[in-house]
Amino acid sequence: MKLQDTLLFSFKTIISYPTRSFLIMLAMALGVAAVIVLTALGDGARRYVVNQFSSIGTNLIIVLPGRAETAGSFPGAVMGQTPRDLTLEDARWVGRLPQVRRYAPLNVGVVELSAAGRLREVTILGSTAEIFPIRHMKLAQGDFLSATSGNSAQIVLGAKVAQEFFPDGNAMGQRVRLSDRRFLVTGVLAEQGETMGFNSDEVVIIPVRHAQTLLNTTSLFRLLVEARHRGEIESTKQAIRETLIQRHDGEDDVTVITQDAILATFDRILRALTLGVAGIAVISLVVAGVLVMNVMLVAVSQRTAEIGLLKAIGTPAAVIRRIFLAEATWLSLTGAIIGFILGQIGSLMLRLMYPLLPAWPPLWANFAGIVVAVLTGILAGLLPAARAARLDPVKALSNR
């Protein structure tokens, strides 16, 4: 029996039992669709996090005062020692490194802001003009903290803060008070919403020296550094480290982390998560495989007389086995293709419902879904096919 005849024969058989075939295909299709939609969801979450991370800056290196040990705690804090300050002078030295494109010192605190008869607590970021390009912040109005006037009392308001204090939109040029100090509004941030749990609409930005005075500190909270090239991130990190060790009398008392490293960690975790969900979805494919086996076994006993006849007209056992395997293959392949289409539609609906979530099923999941479905289908067909091939023709024929 030729291959195309075997395929055609089993295809016709499948059409002859529409309900049975439909149910098997449905089970297979749902399994494959589950794999595709769930991986789309998992991978969508991964991409979402990666995008968010990328939006906070490019080639970013972050320097923290104090040394984070593997346990994640600052030994200084535990031992009652204060780590050496990370100062503005340190920042300036780091800024002179050739690999550094730009840097921004950062102090963060919560201070009372009053203006136009209103009062609220706001998060202040003390930094320089470089913070804007490094953190990809955009201004709706006005100017960045002027690079040359690092000491003048300028303030840039977050979009929501500006809206609250100056609902008429005339924030520019207004005077506001932070605690007991007066600032001149020279800019308003464009609305950006929340990224990585940080809402730039709710903050105000002032020159770093003013922030340090307001917060009564000489140590920086963070030092943000942007490397010149992506490929140089590691060497830049190393250079920053060496510079600071030198400046801190040979003590390695800062922690330098790179955005890439954090990103890679998140990427790994979420990929593992996606694989995990895919694994759960594959279980439904295995269940579908068991269903295929069950229905094929019933089909073999229903068609005993037919198998006997096939043997009587000279069909070798191997051909009978192939006919039943082809049937299982057709069922699972068609089911897998329908499931693939359902999965794509499901992912599309997810993307339409949650536009922020890039829920595209990864290529491997599409492949894996279909391949696993077809393989389980064929595996599930093996036992029924063997049983059909083994039937004794005389008994099979007398089974009326």
Partner: protein
């Protein structure tokens, strides 16, 4: 030519061994018309199954067209069966989901004959068996006589040397049965060896050679 020598077939019913065929010797020449008669359980169907290579004897030798087929593998047996034997059953054994034409085509598909040739041969056969207007009907839509004609067409489309019929008229009324017998006899006239197993004395007596069986033995063999 069919040559059976010392063929024994034993079935086990519980702890009892039943000799369905008890040291049978039988030679059937090409083109013969043989009827095999006997009461139920006399072993006549088993004899037909052994001749048709559906059943293997426990002992003895079987030469088909001069070739020893006793020790062939399952796959080789299937091939010999396909090329040399045609079966006609009491209950027709048509595949219910296939049309008459598809049922007749089945042996051609199994033999790996290309589609175009298949179609031509099926058309020819449908015509020869006067079934052309029933080609696209399923078995359920055919009368008993038509079903058996389809079954005979299927059994003979590969031009086997021997046609084995087990109660071919058992499910048909007398008139239709006679038509089917006439068809089988016409095929025998054309050179096919015809073996008919039957209860029906009238049918059995039509054969040129009549074998009577009892308890797994050949009781009488009349020419």
């Amino acid at each position: 030519m069919i040559q059976l020598s010392d063929i024994t077939r034993i079935f086990h019913m519980g702890d009892q061994a039943v000799h369905a065929l008890d040291h049978i010797d039988l030679t059937v020449d090409l083109g013969e018309y043989v009827s095999i008669m006997g009461p139920s359980g006399s072993g006549k169907s088993t004899l037909l199954n052994v001749i048709g290579l559906l059943d293997r004897p426990n002992s003895g030798h079987y030469l088909l067209d001069g070739k020893n087929v006793t020790d062939l593998s399952e796959t080789e047996l299937a091939q010999v069966r396909r090329e040399k034997i045609g079966f006609v059953f009491q209950s027709f054994h048509l595949v219910p989901r296939m049309t008459a034409a598809e049922n007749i085509e089945l042996p051609l598909i199994l033999a790996g004959i290309p589609l175009s040739e298949r179609k031509a041969r099926v058309m020819e056969t449908l015509d020869a068996f006067n079934l052309s207007d029933r080609a696209q009907h399923r078995p359920a839509e055919l009368s008993g006589g038509q079903r058996q004609r389809v079954a005979i067409a299927r059994a003979t489309i590969l031009r086997p040397t021997a046609l084995l019929a087990d109660e071919p008229t058992g499910n048909l009324d007398h008139r239709i049965g006679s038509e089917v017998v006439a068809l089988l006899e016409a095929l025998n006239q054309a050179g096919t060896t015809l073996l008919v197993v039957t209860h029906d004395r009238e049918l059995g007596l039509r054969a040129r050679r009549r074998i009577a069986m009892r308890d797994g033995r050949i009781e009488a063999d009349e020419q």
